[in-house]
């Protein structure tokens, strides 16, 4: 639910008239449930997000390369049998994938900012409020991000035309990417 969905349907009385008590209770419930956005955020575009993602990919790749090189050197020294070595490589690939997933899920769930996002001054948050993502929502967003990239990154094109600059993965996960405000002067 988001605040943009509008208030819930007004309960009507027996003759179609609205009961004031019921209406007030519904308004309070709606106010408690919806977290209105304080101000109009600056939604971030495709290039900015791509640059941030590139930084994150570089970090992930660097760590993976260093760890993989260490493992490869260890295996070359230990003269492990071929089957076990293949299994270790497969395990390393799984660990690398897990590391990539954990990287994004952890940062999106914790602060809404990966290191790349922090460099670019952007943040991922829920579309219906200022809250950070839950791990499940982060995982869903990452999965949809992967799927959106498969058809030649066509899933990212809606960012160019959407009013809130959301891609397919944002629409499905109910997230937006906004500026963190750290690079902007404080409001008067």
């Amino acid at each position: 639910m988001t605040g943009a969905e509008g208030p819930p349907a007004r309960p009507a009385g027996p003759r179609g008239r609205v009961d004031p008590r019921v209406a007030a209770a519904a308004a309070v419930a709606a106010a408690e449930h919806v977290e209105p956005v304080d101000s109009e955020p600056e939604y971030e575009g495709l290039v900015t997000r791509a640059v941030a993602f590139a930084i994150d990919a570089a970090i992930i790749s660097a760590v993976s390369v260093v760890v993989g090189a260490g493992v490869a050197v260890s295996l070359s020294v230990l003269s492990v049998p071929g089957d076990i070595e293949n299994a270790i490589f497969a395990l390393a690939g799984g660990v690398c994938a897990l590391w990539s997933v954990a990287y994004f899920v952890t940062f999106w769930s914790a602060t809404g900012q990966t290191p790349g996002n922090r460099v670019l001054g952007i943040r991922v948050r829920r579309a219906d409020g200022d809250a950070t993502l839950s791990p499940a929502r982060s995982l869903l967003r990452l999965a949809m991000l992967t799927l959106a990239a498969i058809p030649l990154c066509a899933g990212f094109l809606p960012i160019l035309v959407d009013d809130r600059r959301r891609g397919i993965h944002d629409m499905v996960a109910g997230t937006v990417v906004v500026g963190s405000g750290e690079d902007q002067p404080p409001a008067a």
Binding site: T2, A4, G6, G45, G121, R126, L160, D163, M171, D183
Partner: protein, 296 residues
């Protein structure tokens, strides 16, 4: 009024009335006649007494000449007696005894304790005696002679030793360092053209290059540089500088990427014939949520 003298048994009364000027003229005539008589008498007496006066004047002149001769003789005799007295051993013994006596010491003490010394000092100052003496001494060779003698007697070293031993030099240095004179002198020196010329000469000279070369060859310099480089303040400064540089680079990337975003989006919207997006991401539907806003 005058009564006329009786004549021939008859008494005749003549009344003559004289005025005041007539009375004065008559008295003046009488006085003039008396002065003439006295002058005449004086002249006669002077002629008669002239030899006597000549004798008296001659006696007086002789008396004056005699007195001068006696005085000269007495002066010569006195001087001769004085010389004889001063040259005699007796006078020397007398002087020695007088000076060795308590009387002489007492006299000196009285003089020093009395007003005489103060009066003498005031007189010296008032009449500029020292200035006159200095004016006579300074242009001549007396000062040079005095300095030569002082140097020969090793006076400068002894004075320096005394000043150092008594702490006078320390007090002087402390006074100079605490006082405003040193700052004034330094300011004047720094502002002077001579100082500028001196600095230029030092920079242009080989002295500075030699000093820098020797300094770079010393191991202590590099130890000091290492210590400074390892200090927390320098490390923090370098870190701040690095962070500042990284922030600057990130800010540049951020600004450019957002500008490219705007251009790319405007072209895509033109291609799809959609109206431009409003700034700030406000949905153009008047608050109505755009499609797909529902979270799963």
């Amino acid at each position: 009024m005058r009564l006329a003298r009786p004549t021939a048994g008859r008494a005749t009364l003549h009344l003559t009335v004289e005025t005041l000027p007539e009375i004065r003229a008559r008295e003046q005539d009488a006085g003039r006649r008396r002065f003439s008589l006295l002058s005449l008498g004086g002249a006669v007496a002077g002629i008669a007494l002239r030899p006597v006066a000549g004798g008296v004047a001659l006696g007086r002149r002789a008396e004056r000449e005699l007195r001068a001769a006696v005085a000269d003789g007495l002066d010569a005799a006195t001087l001769a007696a004085t010389d004889a007295l001063l040259a005699s051993p007796l006078a020397r013994a007398v002087v020695d005894r007088v000076l060795d006596s308590d009387l002489a010491r007492h006299a000196v003490e009285r003089v020093l304790a009395g007003q005489l010394v103060d009066a003498a000092a005031r007189g010296v100052v008032e009449h500029a005696v020292l200035e006159r003496v200095a004016d006579d001494l300074l242009p001549g060779e007396t000062v040079d002679a005095l300095l030569d003698r002082a140097q020969a007697a090793d006076l400068p070293r002894r004075v320096a030793d005394r000043l150092l031993a008594d702490g006078v030099l320390d007090q002087t240095v402390a006074r100079v360092l605490d006082g405003p004179e040193l700052e004034r002198v330094v300011e004047q020196s720094l502002d002077s053209a001579a100082m500028e010329r001196l600095v230029v000469r030092v920079i242009d000279s080989r002295l500075l290059e030699e000093a820098v070369e020797r300094l770079l060859q010393t191991e202590e310099l590099w130890l000091m540089v290492d210590e400074i480089a390892r200090s927390p303040a320098v490390a923090a400064a370098i870190q701040r500088q690095s962070v500042g540089f990284a922030d600057e680079v990130a800010g540049g990337v951020r600004t450019r990427s957002r500008r490219i975003d705007d251009r790319l989006e405007s072209r895509a919207r033109r291609l799809l014939r959609r109206r431009p997006r409003e700034s700030g991401g406000t949905p153009p539907t008047g608050g109505e949520a755009p499609p797909g806003d529902t979270a799963p």
